[in-house]
């Protein structure tokens, strides 16, 4: 007997449309903007340099690992235990664990900084601002 498909709701980071995807889906095609949307959780371990990371899931950077990217965009938040050199856009919480280090701008709904974490002076926009929902910035006019 086939297992029932559990659906979860994610928001397309290209256009902001809400999608329903299977809990095990890795990528889907957005029915609104027809673009490929990553919906998996991304976990960084070791060294990672270059490129963008965009997902409707969550991103975690494990202890002692290092990530250097132009941008990390995660609708369900970013958990950093290692070292990150990137611009963060999170639809949920950005968590900086003790001993972690962030260098770059940050746009998130909430920020949690544990004692001993280090932030190196990027521009931060924290708050229940819809622009931090993990979707691409909307053009007006």
């Amino acid at each position: 007997m086939a297992k029932p498909v559990i659906l979860r709701r994610v928001r397309c980071y290209h256009c902001g449309a809400t999608l329903e995807v299977g809990s095990r889906a890795i990528t889907v095609s957005c029915p609104a903007c027809y673009q490929r949307v990553a919906v998996e959780d991304v976990r960084f371990k070791g060294m990672q340099f270059g490129g963008d990371v965009r997902t409707c899931g969550a991103v975690s950077v494990v202890n002692k690992s290092q990530v250097q990217a132009k941008m990390i965009q995660a609708s369900q938040g970013v958990d950093i235990q290692g070292r990150v050199d990137a611009r963060l856009v999170a639809g949920d919480t950005v968590n900086l664990a003790a001993g972690s280090r962030l260098r770059g701008d940050c746009n998130a709904r909430t920020l949690r900084v544990e004692h001993g974490a280090q932030i190196d002076g990027g521009f931060f926009r924290i708050g229940p601002d819809p622009s931090g929902d993990g979707s691409a910035p909307k053009r007006t006019g």
Partner: protein
């Protein structure tokens, strides 16, 4: 205006509007409006509903209200639910509670470049500091409203911080809302 509480805390009441510089050895709580700069070797708390258009520098800064200006907390900055900070943050440690918002550059950690609050000026005001207040209404009106119950809360320049053991240093002017309304 400013009123001491039992634990060496100077309180700027919700009806007060202070413009200028303020420096404390102990703790201070802003409940009204503050424009200028405020420093403390202890804790500065910006209460709910308070607005600080000021640079704030203290060992610990706790924000529940609104701050437009740079905030430096040598040990800790805490942004609680409802806090709104627009300005740069430099802190030894940072706590942002859900519901707080912040926009500006952020430096956190032991190497954030926090410079400890300098000691208060050489001649601190240890006795009842006087806050210059502008008389904004005729004496007759002033004496009349002094008898009214509203005026009791609007009592200006009761900065008896020295009596509570909190050495403070004030430079600026303060007005109460009653005064502003009467003006």
């Amino acid at each position: 205006m400013t009123q001491p509480t039992n634990q060496n805390t100077t309180v700027i009441g919700p009806d007060a509007h202070f413009k200028g510089e303020m420096s404390f050895d102990g703790a201070a709580k802003i409940l009204g409006t503050f424009d200028g700069s405020i420093t403390s070797k202890g804790e500065i708390s910006v209460g709910q509903g308070a607005t600080c258009n000021a640079t704030v520098h203290a060992a610990r800064v706790v924000v529940d209200g609104t701050v437009n200006g740079d905030v430096q907390g040598d040990e800790l900055i805490e942004l609680n639910n409802g806090a709104k900070v627009t300005g740069d943050i430099t802190a030894g440690n940072l706590v942002v509670v859900e519901g707080a918002s912040f926009e500006g550059h952020c430096k956190v950690g032991p190497n954030a470049g926090v410079k400890r609050v300098a000691p208060a000026p050489a001649q601190p005001v240890t006795e009842r500091p006087r806050i210059e207040t502008r008389s904004m209404r005729p004496a007759s009106v002033a004496s009349e409203s002094a008898a009214s119950p509203g005026a009791a809360t609007a009592a200006v320049a009761r900065a008896t911080a020295g009596a509570a053991g909190n050495t403070s240093w004030l430079k600026g002017e303060a007005t109460s809302k009653d005064e502003q309304n009467a003006a």
